[in-house]
């Protein structure tokens, strides 16, 4: 298949692996930021092709994994209301809150629907004027433009029965949080190609300078990742710390101006809590005052409530690259995709689920 097979070519993959062997002289630890990259690495076995000096650790870029438990619990409560049609991307509906997930809400009679685009919710809202349509707006900068567009259109169409439960997070503050942690061991980053396709990569340049760390904007196919690793290792070996763009076929330095404008129109930067990590300043998006009427948290006036994370779960350390999934004592024993203790085991992009699926022996 065109634009797929070229980037999965075994001979080219071996060439990159060999090129890496030729340039690497000491051990390096790199983090791929995005869960989609983690998934590709274990699914294709890319790390098996790398020389032993290179360690890949898995980053916080799995939107399902970092969505705080309180918000999932709020989603479950809203979805349980009889007048609500609760819409979500597919992989959020299996994430357990305190005791149950959205699938269970559906099984118990709640109207929970999987949509492919938040814009689908507007049609549902028009078709069901007597119901409240709530979309679970989860994700990084990648999904923010479409979610912003849904709110923007809802306002211009005068739709009153549509709202967003927002849990948007941003990549650069998460990278900074990892780099400023005393236990950090990451020496170079593969930045998430899709995020940069929207946002560009100018905002990574101060991070690369300040922390003396190479950042390579990287795609999601095996050759993308191998090339991203090669570019990153080259920088490390040469003592450089720059932002480079491996994913040039999709990413421009300035990103997608129209998408960025739309995000800015609808959202503002807010502090956000990251599951397993805690609150990070200026690390998320929330609706602007002008769009506050579309905020499901306000519309349904849910008071805060206590939720308890499993004490055995080390997903916070996994998400920061401090530990790898197999290093967790609960991995595969107390914790599996059927009985997840934390979100990194639930989402198909979560590092623990990826290891469980492809690596457990």
């Amino acid at each position: 298949m065109k634009f797929i097979d070229e980037y999965r070519d075994p001979a080219a993959a071996r060439q990159y692996a060999q090129a890496l062997v030729n340039i690497v002289t000491k051990p390096w630890t790199l983090m791929e930021v995005c869960g989609g990259q983690t998934h590709a690495i274990v699914k294709f076995g890319i790390d098996e092709l790398l020389p032993p000096q290179i360690t890949l650790v898995h980053g916080p870029g799995c939107p399902v994994c970092v969505t705080p438990l309180e918000l999932i619990e709020k989603a479950i409560r809203i979805a349980s209301l009889p007048k609500v049609i609760f819409c979500s991307f597919g992989d959020m509906i299996r994430v357990p809150g305190n005791s149950r997930d959205l699938l269970s809400v559906k099984a118990a009679g709640g109207d929970v629907r999987i949509v492919y685009s938040p814009l689908d919710c507007l049609k549902i809202a028009r078709d069901n004027p007597e119901r409240e349509i709530v979309f679970f707006a989860v994700g990084f900068e990648t999904t923010a433009p479409a979610n912003a567009m849904a709110v923007f259109q809802a306002r211009s169409q005068g739709l009153k029965n549509f709202s967003l439960l927002v849990s948007h997070v941003l990549v650069p503050p998460a990278i900074e949080a990892i780099l400023s942690s005393p236990s950090n061991r990451v020496q170079g980053f593969l930045a998430a190609g899709h995020v940069c396709a929207v946002m560009g990569y100018e905002e990574y340049e101060p991070i690369a300078r300040q922390y003396r760390v190479p950042i390579v904007v990287t795609g999601f196919e095996p050759l993308d990742i191998l090339q991203g690793v090669t570019m990153c290792v080259e920088q490390l070996e040469q003592g450089r710390a720059e932002v480079e763009n491996q994913y040039a076929r999709c990413v421009r330095k300035e990103g997608n101006a129209a998408a960025r404008d739309l995000i800015k129109e609808v959202f503002r930067v807010v502090p956000r809590k990251w599951r397993g990590v805690g609150e990070i300043a200026q690390s998320g998006l929330g609706l602007r005052q002008e769009y506050a009427g579309f905020d499901a948290e306000m519309r349904f006036a849910l008071s805060d409530f206590a939720v308890a994370e499993s004490p055995e779960c080390i997903s916070g350390q996994i998400l920061q690259g401090i530990q790898k999934p197999q290093e967790c004592p609960a991995f595969g024993i107390l914790c599996s995709p059927e009985h997840p203790l934390g979100a990194t085991m639930v989402s198909s992009e979560g590092a623990c689920a990826a290891y469980y699926r492809y690596r457990r022996v």
């Binding site: 993959a13 294709f44 076995g45 098996e48 092709l49 597919g90 492919y116 198909s348 469980y356 492809y358």
Partner: protein, 354 residues
């Protein structure tokens, strides 16, 4: 209160053997791990008998000197009509295929129809005609049936259950237990068509070429191999959970490791493309006219030739072999040459966020 129910092996005091979910989820019917759990923890222990212990698509029973295969399946597909077939064709072919996977020649089928009040009579007639044509194609007959109607809103147009009886005319034990080290795994054709055809209609996705369901009756192609005296060790049609789930079930039941090669599995370009867009793994996507066949290595070339000479097996391919280690798992050599395990999915595949 066990003492009050001494005579009932399944008393109300028995704890429900699956406590993870208090309600049935869609995923319990998805053919993945939750379905497997339901069968292993609830149904097999509850009904406890040697036929179920075989864990095959149908039961094979001896009647006098004859061996009969008996199987049943229910069909709840939405939409009722899709490119390449409809619920009626599925209901006939699906049960015929379960019989075929026992190595049986289908004799007769039963059909139980559960209709929703308000269903257009014309729809019912189209489905009925499709069932009749499918039965002709599969050289079987619908010998008995039943009809029930439920209130509007309590069904989804039509639900169909079919059961089938077939005759077993060979002495092979076609079951996971017969799978041996070095056996060759042959796949009858490209995978994932049915699931993506349904998905495209259900979700309003459009592709340049229309993906048609692969639904087809598999008895002829299997009987052609049996008639040629091929020593078949195991057969399994690929249904809900796709190629991966079928292989995992066999590997777990036979306590062997099956090693397959990603690049050997035939895949239609359109199916691959659709899966890429939705973030699905085509190895877990549903099929209705494909099967895997386990044969000893010496039989593989002949079995492959017979399959390829049949229109439904024109793209048949050897996709892997059975390894000696008693792991009960499936491993995959990836496109770029690394090896990973192929794991059972918990429920249905869900489209990813990004």
């Amino acid at each position: 209160m066990d003492h009050e129910n001494k005579n009932n092996t399944l008393s109300f005091a028995c704890p429900i053997p699956i406590s993870q979910y208090p309600n049935v989820l869609l995923a319990h019917g998805g053919g993945g791990r939750l379905t497997h759990e339901l069968i292993e923890k609830m149904f097999i222990p509850a009904f406890n008998n040697p036929f179920l212990e075989a864990r095959h698509d149908g039961a094979v029973l001896s009647v006098g000197s004859q061996k009969l295969a008996f199987t049943t399946d229910s069909y709840v597909v939405h939409p009722l009509f899709f490119p390449g077939g409809n619920i009626g064709t599925l209901a006939v072919y699906g049960t015929v295929n379960d019989l075929a996977m026992c190595g049986a020649r289908p004799l007769v089928l039963s059909a139980g129809l559960i209709l929703e009040e308000g269903l257009p009579m014309e729809t019912l007639w189209r489905v009925t005609q499709a069932m009749q044509r499918a039965a002709l194609d599969a050289h079987t007959r619908l010998a008995t049936g039943d009809t029930k109607v439920v209130d509007r809103g309590k069904g989804d147009g039509i639900f169909i259950n079919t059961s089938g009886i077939g005759i077993v005319e060979h002495d092979l034990l076609i079951a996971p237990a017969s799978v041996k080290q070095d056996d060759v795994v042959i796949l009858s054709g490209d995978v994932g068509r049915h699931g993506m055809a349904i998905m495209a209609v259900r979700e309003g996705l459009e592709f340049e070429t229309k993906i048609e369901s692969d639904c087809a009756p598999l008895a002829d192609i299997v009987l052609a191999m049996l008639d040629a005296g091929i020593e078949i060790h195991c057969l399994r049609d690929l249904t809900r959970g796709g190629l991966a789930s079928a292989l995992i079930e066999i590997a777990e039941a036979a306590k062997i490791r099956i090693g397959i090669e990603e690049t050997e599995v035939p895949l239609l370009e359109e199916v691959r493309g659709a899966c890429e867009i939705l973030g699905f793994d085509p190895f877990y996507v549903a099929n209705e006219g494909r099967f895997v066949c386990f044969v000893p290595p010496r039989e593989a070339p002949r079995a492959l030739a017979i399959m390829r000479s049949h229109p439904l097996g024109a793209q048949a391919a050897i996709i892997g072999t059975v390894a000696g280690d008693k792991k009960g798992m499936v491993t995959l050599k990836t496109r770029i040459g690394a090896t990973r395990i192929v794991d059972a999915i918990s429920g249905e595949q869900l489209p990813r966020i990004c």
